[in-house]
Amino acid sequence: MKNIEISGVDYGYASESKIFQNLDVSFLPGRTALLGPNGAGKSTLISLMASVLSPSAGTIEITRANGNRITSRQLRKFRRLVAWLPQDFSPVAGLSVMEHVMYAGWLKGMSRRLAKHEAPWAVHAVGLDELSGKKATELSGGQQRRLGLAGALVHRAGVVLLDEPTAGLDPGQRDRFRRILATLSDEHVTVVSTHQTEDIDGSFDHVVVLVDGSIRFNGSVSEFMNVAPANITDPRDRVRIAYAAFVEGEI
């Protein structure tokens, strides 16, 4: 079992004030929804956890692998544990779907043989089997996002970080994503940043609410929904109301 421990993290882009100051948060095994309005710092936090960005202070740890101010060897060890799908995923030109996933696996440290062996599984997991020979750049937006997920999953990382994976997708594609998410093992730490609250109940185990760079809530989905008044029975409404409570401070 792995979990992500973030402690005392500071981060800010050069031209702006700090997004995070002394941020402490932990993500437990299971599916966590990282909620927050636009500009709350969700993508930045995901990028920090994926080691794409480095915090100016503090530590980000997965079990004993440290993602901050470490040697390149340690960083590689850390990255082996993490799968990341950015919001603006864009495939590598010139490769077919299957080749793309194999390349992603190789980049994640898999041997050529292993990447070749595992790629069909990842492509199948995201439902792109029939398009495996098609050029990655010729896929639709939703298909490309699934391709990115296949690339992220191929090395079977313990931590899966998905940044707004369903943003801009049609309901059918969103549903497909939910189903893929459900297949991920409970032993994985899966963090999905989103501002779509309708999917929370049933798809996630935990909720973290991030507003203006600080954590407003970190707990189970049921704890989160309990914030809503008892007379509201529809789970979707309860989630929506709880979210509003944490983000806007109103019920």
């Binding site: 080691s51 995923f89 864009s90 495939p91 590598v92 194999m102 190789w106 994640k108």
Partner: protein, 448 residues
């Protein structure tokens, strides 16, 4: 890892080889490389235009593919060097194949040769490809493919072309194209030029890849201290490589050659003794023609020659006071060409005399007349009538005879009408006069 069929280098390989073969067939004169492996391989330096362009363009394309993607390389477990290596190897292999194809075509054109395959020059040329790969990696990382790819191709060519004729000669050897000026039967490559190329190319490649590491944040300016450090380290490495390369090539001349040691020459048992290098003898031994020519001309009153060499170097006199002649001897030259080379020694030696600016330019016209006479005199005794066809060639005399000035073609006509003894007297006295910067008197006919 990446499938072979998806690599642009392989797609561009066939057209590049086609262009190389076309270029060699159209422009490379066989005479320049015949029977000389070293000269043939050195001549392939010019083909870097094709191979290096292929490498830089495809490197920019390959690296640009990763740059244009998002969500893959940012969290790579593989080191940047490993990723760049996977991207670059087809570019470098394709560039090597193109360069080697050119070398093979040129070697085929050169035919059988007594010298060994010049491994060092080949290594130098292949190292040059690394530098161009560096150009592609840097531009492909720094700029969007739409800009990076055309700029990589343009920069690659401009570096080769610009350095090729740069006034400060050592710069030429950093690019490698100037190795094309090597070699000849009497000259071998100056290793310093190749060392300069290798040192610069390797350091340049490392420098450019380091610089690419500093600008890989998809911004025009590096972000973060570590990236600035990489950029500075890259520039410093490039600077160091340039300095070392320039230092290595500091004494290399316009042509990257040194004279072959005379000890390598093979001497005849004739009088005068004629010593030629193995490449000069590879397509037929003409040493006896040289010996016979000097013997005939000595009998006709010209200075006696005791030894004949064919060595290079500006400081080597064409004819020394001790009677040592330095002739031009190309492999595969005909008997008549050998005779012309030997017979023109006296005229060339005379015209090489330092006479200052106040001497009439007629002195060169008379040297030409002396040359025509020497060739004619020797040819009549050594060559048969068939070999003598077109000899002596008097067209140059027509060319230098300006209206209102001395008509050297007509002077030759007058001279050839003299009896043998008079001709001998004229030749001996003309040679003496020209050697003392004196203009000989005309042979009875006025200006044209």
């Amino acid at each position: 890892m990446l499938p072979v069929t998806r690599r642009p280098a392989w797609w561009l390989l066939a057209p590049a080889i086609g262009l190389v073969v076309l270029y060699v067939q159209q422009y490379v004169p066989s005479l320049q490389i015949i029977a000389q492996r070293e000269a043939a391989v050195a001549a392939s330096a010019l083909l870097l235009i094709f191979s290096a362009s292929l490498v830089s363009t495809t490197a920019a394309l390959e690296v640009g593919r990763d740059r244009a993607s998002c969500g893959m390389t940012e969290v790579s477990v593989r080191s940047k060097i490993e990723v760049v290596a996977v991207r670059l190897w087809p570019c470098l292999v394709a560039g090597t194949i193109v360069q080697m194809s050119g070398i093979f075509v040129l070697l085929d054109k050169a035919g059988s040769a007594p010298d060994r395959f010049p491994v060092l020059i080949t290594v130098g040329l292949l190292c040059a490809l690394l530098f161009h790969a560096g150009i592609g990696v840097f531009l492909g990382t720094w700029l969007r493919p739409r800009f990076a790819v055309p700029f990589a191709l343009a920069l690659s060519y401009l570096w080769l072309g610009f350095a090729w004729s740069f006034d400060f000669v050592p710069v030429r050897y950093l690019a490698g194209l100037a190795l094309e000026g090597c070699c000849s039967p009497s000259e071998t490559v100056d290793i310093s030029a190749v060392v300069a190329l290798i040192v610069f190319s390797l350091a340049g490649f490392v420098g450019l890849v380091l610089m690419a590491g500093g600008v890989d944040s998809r911004k025009l300016r590096p972000r973060g201290n570590r990236n600035w450090l990489r950029l500075v380290a890259g520039i410093a490495t490039l600077g160091l490589g340039t300095s070392l390369g320039l230092f290595a090539a500091r004494d290399v001349g316009v042509n990257p050659v040194v004279a072959r040691p005379l000890a390598d020459a093979q001497c005849s048992n004739s009088v005068p003794e004629v010593c030629l290098f193995s490449t000069q003898l590879a397509r037929g031994d003409t040493r006896h023609v040289y010996a016979d020519t000097f013997t005939v001309l000595a009998a006709r009153g010209m200075p006696k020659v005791t030894q004949v060499f064919s060595i290079s170097g500006d400081h080597e006199p064409v004819l020394s006071a001790q009677g040592v002649a330095n002739v031009v001897a190309a492999p595969g030259q005909s008997r008549s060409a050998a005779l012309e080379s030997a017979a023109s020694t006296f005229a060339v030696a005379a015209s090489n005399t330092e006479c200052g600016d106040d001497v009439s330019t007629d002195i060169y016209g008379w040297s030409e007349v002396l040359k025509v006479w020497s060739v004619q005199a020797a040819a009549l005794q050594i060559l048969d009538s068939e070999e003598r066809e077109g000899i002596p060639d008097t067209s140059f005399l027509e060319l230098i005879s300006e209206p209102g000035e001395t008509d050297f073609a007509q002077q030759w006509q007058v001279l050839s009408g003299f009896d043998e003894q008079s001709q001998n007297d004229w030749a001996a006295s003309t040679y003496r006069q020209l050697s003392q910067c004196q203009v000989p008197a005309q042979l009875g006919v006025g200006p044209r």
